[in-house]
C-alpha cells in the first residue's frame, strides 16, 4: 500500500492547482504495479500517490506531468530533482 507523506500542493484557500488546469512535474519514487499507482515526489519534495494507468509502464525515476492525482504524460525532456 502506498501512502502520502508530505501531501503534494493541493487546493489552498488562495489558489487551487486543479481548478487552474495546472500540471505538476513529479518523479516516480515507488511503484505499485498491481494497482497502477505510484508514489511520486514533486520538486519541493512533496509526495503523493498518483494514478499511472494512462502513462504505463512507468519506471523508478521517470518524470511525469500530474494533474488531479493522475499522470497525463511522460516528461521526456524534464528532470524532476528530488
Amino acid at each position: 500500500m502506498i501512502s502520502s507523506h508530505h501531501p503534494a500542493p493541493a487546493c489552498g484557500s488562495d489558489h487551487c492547482i486543479t481548478c487552474g488546469d495546472e500540471g505538476v512535474p513529479m518523479r516516480v519514487t515507488r511503484i505499485d504495479e498491481e494497482r497502477r499507482l505510484a508514489l511520486c515526489a514533486a520538486r519541493d519534495g512533496a509526495t503523493s500517490t498518483v494514478e499511472v494507468e494512462l502513462v504505463a509502464p512507468v519506471a523508478l525515476g521517470d518524470s511525469l506531468l500530474v494533474h488531479a492525482g493522475v499522470a497525463l504524460v511522460h516528461l521526456t525532456h524534464e528532470e524532476v530533482a528530488a
Partner: protein
C-alpha cells in the same frame, strides 16, 4: 531549476519582446486570445503584457474551469450537499463560486458536510472510509481534469463502491471556441492554445480554427517565455500569410495527445446535447455526462437535482469578460463590490479567472500607467 529557470529568464524575455516589437506593423492592431486561464494567470503574474507593443492586445478566453460554471449549477450542488447523510466533495476554488443563495463554502458553514479534495480519487477514498454515507464528487474542469474523474469512476465500478457518485459538470474546450469565433462581437487574429488540455486531446482538435476560420493557433506552455514565444510564432504566421496549428510546448504536449485518456473518457462519458456556460449561454455538445454504463454512479440520477436556470446578477459582466468583449477593469463592480474575498462573478473566484488575475497582479501596472 531545469526547464523552469530557462523559461523565466528576463534577458531572453526582453530579447523575444524586442523581436516582437520589430515584427509588428505599426498601423495594425493585433488581438490574440489566450484560451486557458493558466495562461491568463501567468501573463499577469509575470507582466508579459507589459513587454508587448501597445498594438498587440491579449484577450482572455473562456478556459478557466470554475469561471464558466453557471449559478444554477452551484445551486444544484448545494441542494445535493444538503441531502441527509451526504458528504459532498469538490475542488478548492469551486467552494467559493457564488450560487443564488451563497457558495458551497457558505453552505458548509451552515452545516452541510462539504469537503475540499485535490483529486476525485480522494473523494473515492472518503467513500470507502465512510460506507454508511453517500459521497458525491462535484466534477468540473476541461479535458485536463476529465480523465481523472473517468479513472475514478472505473475504479469505483471495479471495486463496487456503491456509495460514491459524481455530479458531472465537465466541459470541452472546442465548442466554446467555435461559439466565440462565430460571435460578431469579437475579431481575433490568433489563439494561444491550452497546453495542458492538449496533453490529453493533442493538437488535432484545433485544426478547425485555421481550416474554417483562417486563424493561427500556437499551443503554448505556461512560463513567461513560453507565452512570449507563442505570441511571436502567431505574429510570424500572420506576417508570412500562413495559418496553421503549431506546438510551442513540444517538451510536454505530444501531437496526438494521450490516446488512453481519450479511450477512458469515451467509455465513461458522453456528450450532453446542451450545457449552459456562464456568460456564454447554452452551447451544443459542450458538456459531458456519465454514459449509460456508469449511470449507477450518476449523482443527478441518484439525487433530486433542481436543475433550475438562474440568471447572473445584473451588475456582473463576467459574460463580456469571458468573451473578451471588455477588460476586467471595465466591469462596473470590478475591485469594488466584486473582489477575490467576496466575488460576485466567477471570474473573480479562481486565480486563473481574468478578473482575479488582474486584481492580484495587473492592476498595479495599470495604476502606474494612470499616474
Amino acid at each position: 531549476m531545469k526547464f523552469v529557470d530557462e523559461f523565466r529568464d528576463a534577458e531572453l524575455g526582453r530579447a523575444v519582446a524586442g523581436e516582437i516589437l520589430a515584427s509588428v506593423e505599426p498601423g495594425r492592431h493585433y488581438k490574440v486570445m489566450e484560451v486557458c486561464g493558466g495562461h491568463t494567470h501567468s501573463i499577469y503574474k509575470y507582466g508579459v503584457d507589459d513587454l508587448l507593443p501597445a498594438n498587440v492586445e491579449l484577450v482572455h478566453g473562456p478556459g478557466c474551469p470554475v469561471c464558466v460554471i453557471p449559478m444554477g449549477r452551484v445551486d444544484d450542488g448545494i441542494a445535493v450537499a444538503r441531502e441527509p447523510g451526504v458528504i459532498f466533495t469538490c475542488f478548492g476554488d469551486m467552494m467559493r463560486v457564488p450560487g443564488s443563495e451563497g457558495s458551497l463554502l457558505e453552505a458548509k458553514a451552515r452545516g452541510a458536510d462539504i469537503r475540499m479534495v485535490y483529486s476525485p480519487l480522494d473523494a473515492l477514498r472518503i467513500a470507502k472510509a465512510n460506507p454508511e454515507r453517500q459521497v458525491v464528487f462535484f466534477a468540473i474542469g476541461f479535458e485536463t481534469t476529465a480523465p481523472s474523474t473517468a479513472l475514478t469512476l472505473k475504479r469505483a465500478k471495479a471495486e463496487g463502491v456503491a456509495n460514491f457518485s459524481v455530479m458531472c459538470s465537465h466541459v470541452t474546450i472546442v465548442p466554446p471556441l467555435r461559439a466565440l469565433l462565430d460571435s460578431p462581437d469579437l475579431r481575433l487574429d490568433g489563439f494561444i492554445g491550452p497546453g495542458h488540455v492538449c496533453t490529453v486531446v493533442g493538437a488535432r482538435p484545433f485544426d478547425f480554427i485555421p481550416a474554417d476560420y483562417d486563424r493561427p493557433v500556437v499551443i503554448a506552455g505556461f512560463e513567461p517565455l513560453d507565452i512570449l514565444q507563442a505570441i511571436q510564432m502567431i505574429l510570424r504566421q500572420l506576417d508570412d500569410d500562413r495559418c496553421e496549428v503549431e506546438n510551442q510546448y513540444k517538451r510536454v504536449v505530444p501531437h496526438e495527445g494521450n490516446q488512453r485518456a481519450l479511450e477512458v473518457m469515451a467509455e465513461v462519458f458522453e456528450l450532453r446535447p446542451h450545457f449552459e456556460w456562464r456568460g456564454l449561454g447554452f452551447i451544443s455538445h459542450s458538456g459531458l455526462k456519465l454514459s449509460d454504463a456508469y449511470a449507477d454512479w450518476d449523482a443527478e440520477l441518484r439525487f433530486s437535482v433542481p436543475g433550475v436556470r438562474v440568471a447572473d446578477p445584473k451588475a456582473c459582466q463576467c459574460g463580456e469578460v469571458l468573451k473578451g468583449v471588455i477588460k476586467p477593469w471595465e466591469c462596473k463592480v470590478f475591485g469594488t463590490a466584486c473582489t477575490p474575498e467576496r466575488p460576485i462573478g466567477t471570474c473573480m473566484v479562481s486565480s486563473e479567472g481574468a478578473c482575479a488575475a488582474y486584481y492580484n497582479f495587473g492592476r498595479f501596472a495599470r495604476e502606474r500607467e494612470v499616474v
